[in-house]
Amino acid sequence: MNIVTTRRICQGFFLVLFLGFCAVTTLGDQWWQLRGWPVNWMIQLDPLVGLATLLTTRTVYSGLLWGLATIVLTIILGRFFCGWICPFGSIHQFVGFLAKRKQSIPAKIKLNQYHPGQSIKYWILIFLLTISTLELAIDLIRLPITHRLLFGILMLAALTGLIFRVVRQASATPGKIGRVFLIFIAVWLLLGTFFNTYQTSAASLQIGLLDPIPLLYRSINLVILPLVDRTSVSVSTIPRAYDGTWLIAFVFLSAILLNLAVPRFYCRFICPAGAMFGILSRFAIWRVGKTKNECIDCGLCEKNCEGACSPTSQIRINECVLCMNCLNECRHDLMTYQIAPSASGEKFTPDLSRRQFLVSAVSGAAAIPMLRISGRLEGSWNPALVRPPGALTEKMFLSRCIKCGQCMRICPTNVIHPAGLQGGLEGLWTPVLDFRIGTSGCQFNCIACGNLCPTAAIRPISIDERLGRNRYAEQGPIKIGTAFVDRGRCLPWAMNRPCIVCQENCPVSPKAIRTREVFNPIDTGSALIVAKADALYIEFQGTGPGMDQWATGDYYTVVLPSADHRPRRIVGNWERGLRVAEGLPFELPPKSGSRVEIQIRLQQPHVDPEHCIGCGVCEHECPVPGKRAIRVTADNESRAPEHALLLKR
């Protein structure tokens, strides 16, 4: 079989597999829905996720180790991931193919010429990785302060190495090398004393913004599948809604449509994962190249060159995505995939000057500290930022979340949404709970998001831990926030209407919403005066309201003046009188001329913050349609001790 056909089958397989993973990431009763399918596998295969989280957390979490397989194969084979696996790449390739299929051969060749702008993706990679490296870098800078002995040993080793070199090389200048070495140590020591310990929590992960795999997961999960849900092939029982997806859709659509201008635009100019593979392919054992330098320069090999890597002349190994189209197109069988370098020579490092590298690295290093001047991670944290149960403390969370949207996809009730700017620019597209959207609040017995999260930004908690049972009994259930009653909007508090839907739906046992019974007098217009009465009936002198208006079971009556102030429940009324329940008749029938007061019995909700877990079911169910009368904020969330509301008793 032709190598290009093989590649196409491989691409198709992984694209279908990927889309399948997205579709099955649904909790439900169907066999094809989530039943332990390895739906994170494509993220795990992406070594940029593994590398960036390694830099921020100094760990490679669970399945992210799969990225190692990709790295090893890339070092041996080159950028096979881009050309053979990456579903985003396959989409680009296909759209690019559609766009240029009717163009002339020279036009196609022109589209695939190397462009100096292709080094932009390396700037992006460096920028995003420096963001993640900052904390590590500061710890390294502080090494002379924190680990004096280690620093001493390192410097001694360096000095020995230098002396060894000076002795071996006749041309070396010991004076100059010595000076540089001393200045180096002095600068390091000075910088080390410059940073304080408490400033080091600077790790942040922004790789997910442009890393193609999280980007594609996010776009499919939050834009494409919700659109599919609104057709006849819906994958969810109730169409999914996500807040603020316009920007996600805009990025996705731009990336796709740019293929109309330049094929594989995203891969060539933007993709930070592609840039990383480009760097890794430097020592590739096998590579594409020409067997003979001399050829007729027909340029056909560049007709469908996906990487724009100049196979005609000096091939750029770091840009070659191994599409193998050149092998197919060359009429003279000059193009091959072999161990020897191309006969026309090759380049295998990106066109990146030291200055460009520095600009990217310095802006990356400055980005997060500058954003954090806002104080959003300290005192002025946003209480509207309710994170899913098991989410780590905000700083740790931001050093892990890749914004892939898997938690938002799997959440059975659709309460997890991509954040806009609630968590600052840094928290863009990270999960935040919105209890008005979706089918219910955050479910009491659900731990789906944490067990799916590919980077453990939301920890994989157990049901026991979530509910504070068994060995977690002492620490109690995980709280994601606290509900607060808005007494100005609540029906029983402000509007003399019975309700307590919030109390009924509170899933905590004993309930975290308690009620207090009150009897409030209602306005009956003109005063109602007793004409005559017996133990159960009162007849008015004037006229009251219409038939059975007070017969709902919530209305009570008290006759004034009287020694007996117990409200008696009204079971029926007509225009000129009312009847009270037989359980509590008037012992002395009300006297003619006394005043009848009508009261409504209300149960006013009170939140017990000690037991409230912030699940937001109350907020979801609250019948006040717009801004709910009971709302959850992140106050008292378990993940941040400094957000505690109550003193522990």
């Binding site: 390694l54 006969a343 020579g345």
Partner: protein
């Protein structure tokens, strides 16, 4: 890096070179991957228990001491009180490094008596140096902006003029503290660093009305050592005052009741809130000092539950007559 297009294919040396580099990179990547692999995921960080606690700075005396001096001049009164207890030398030895925990809570002038008066800070610092103290440091974590508080109260100026150092509460000076047998002060950030190199601690507090706890005196003064979102402790104010007194075992406390804040505490803000009670209390027992202070505010000990709680915790005695306080007038 570029390969020469004229080179004839790949020679063995070049290939081996490349193979080695690829091999080394693969080995390094695999080693790093497996070394840092974490199959379980992170744990919540709050489980780290702090075992840090403040040292015991109390003096090894057979009997607690207390002196009560009546007089209008607070500096003279302080000197007299210390003299009546055997002089400053009884408490401060040569070479001692002394920490003065003052009340600098509010950015208001000294005349409003919401903060420790600079005059007694000057006097105490000078006395300590006269007794041979190696250093005197003044600190507090105020409620208002620290820089403004230390400046506007005159405390920083008084301390520096007398030769004392002033430590403002920077974030890196706090450490989580767990007080033994305490319920509230567990893993709580406390202004710890200024205590690390210290041999004697003197608490210096003004006598003030306090709406939540009833009175702010020498025990409540330690609240200014707490960091973090400490106001959560107002949910159990008497409990926290007791635990603060458990946390700090001072060498000496000074309760300045020359001018007392009788109403609108603890901020005051008007001269009409103040009353000249013309009293200076110096004691090694903070519970006794506070118990006597309560009487000056016209409050009974029953109205100030933290005093009873502190006594029950064995910190001191509310029955200050047991200490045979030296009473002097000037």
């Amino acid at each position: 890096m570029t390969l020469d297009p004229n080179s004839k294919g790949l020679d063995r040396r070049q290939f081996l070179h490349r193979l080695t580099k690829a091999g080394v990179t693969i080995t390094a990547a695999c080693a790093a991957g497996f070394w840092f692999h974490d199959s379980k995921g992170p744990f919540p960080s709050e489980h780290q228990q702090s075992n840090l606690d403040l040292k015991d700075f109390s003096l090894d005396v057979p009997k607690q001491k207390m002196s009560i001096v009546r007089g209008e001049d607070r500096a003279v009164a302080l000197r007299t009180a210390l003299k009546s207890l055997g002089g400053i030398e009884t408490f401060i030895k040569k070479g001692d490094r002394v920490l003065l925990k003052v009340n600098a809570a509010f950015a208001s002038p000294a005349m409003l008596s919401a903060t420790t008066h600079p005059a007694i800070i000057t006097e105490m610092t000078q006395l300590c140096f006269r007794a041979g103290a190696a250093s005197v440091t003044v600190t507090d974590n105020p409620i208002n902006d620290p820089g403004s508080c230390f400046t506007l109260t005159g405390i920083a100026d008084a301390a520096r003029r007398a030769g004392a150092g002033v430590v403002l509460p920077r974030e890196d000076l706090f450490s989580p503290i767990t007080v033994k047998d305490a319920k509230l002060i567990r893993n709580w950030p406390v202004l710890y660093k200024p205590f690390t190199d210290i041999t004697k601690v003197i608490g210096m507090a003004p006598l003030k009305d306090h709406h939540r706890s009833g009175a702010s005196m020498t025990m409540k003064n330690w609240y200014g050592l707490l960091g973090g979102r400490r106001n959560i402790f107002h949910q159990d104010i008497h409990g926290i005052i007791k635990e603060l007194a458990m946390m700090v075992k001072p060498s000496l406390v000074v309760l300045d009741a020359t001018t007392s804040m009788m109403t609108n505490g603890p901020t005051g803000g008007s001269l009409s809130d103040l009353k000249n009670t013309n009293t200076m209390i110096v004691s090694t027992d903070q519970v006794a000092a506070d118990a006597f202070g309560a009487s000056l505010l016209g409050r009974s000990i029953d109205e100030l539950p933290f005093i009873g709680k502190a006594q029950a915790a064995g910190i001191g005695t509310a029955d200050y007559f047991k200490l045979n306080p030296v009473m002097t007038s000037i």
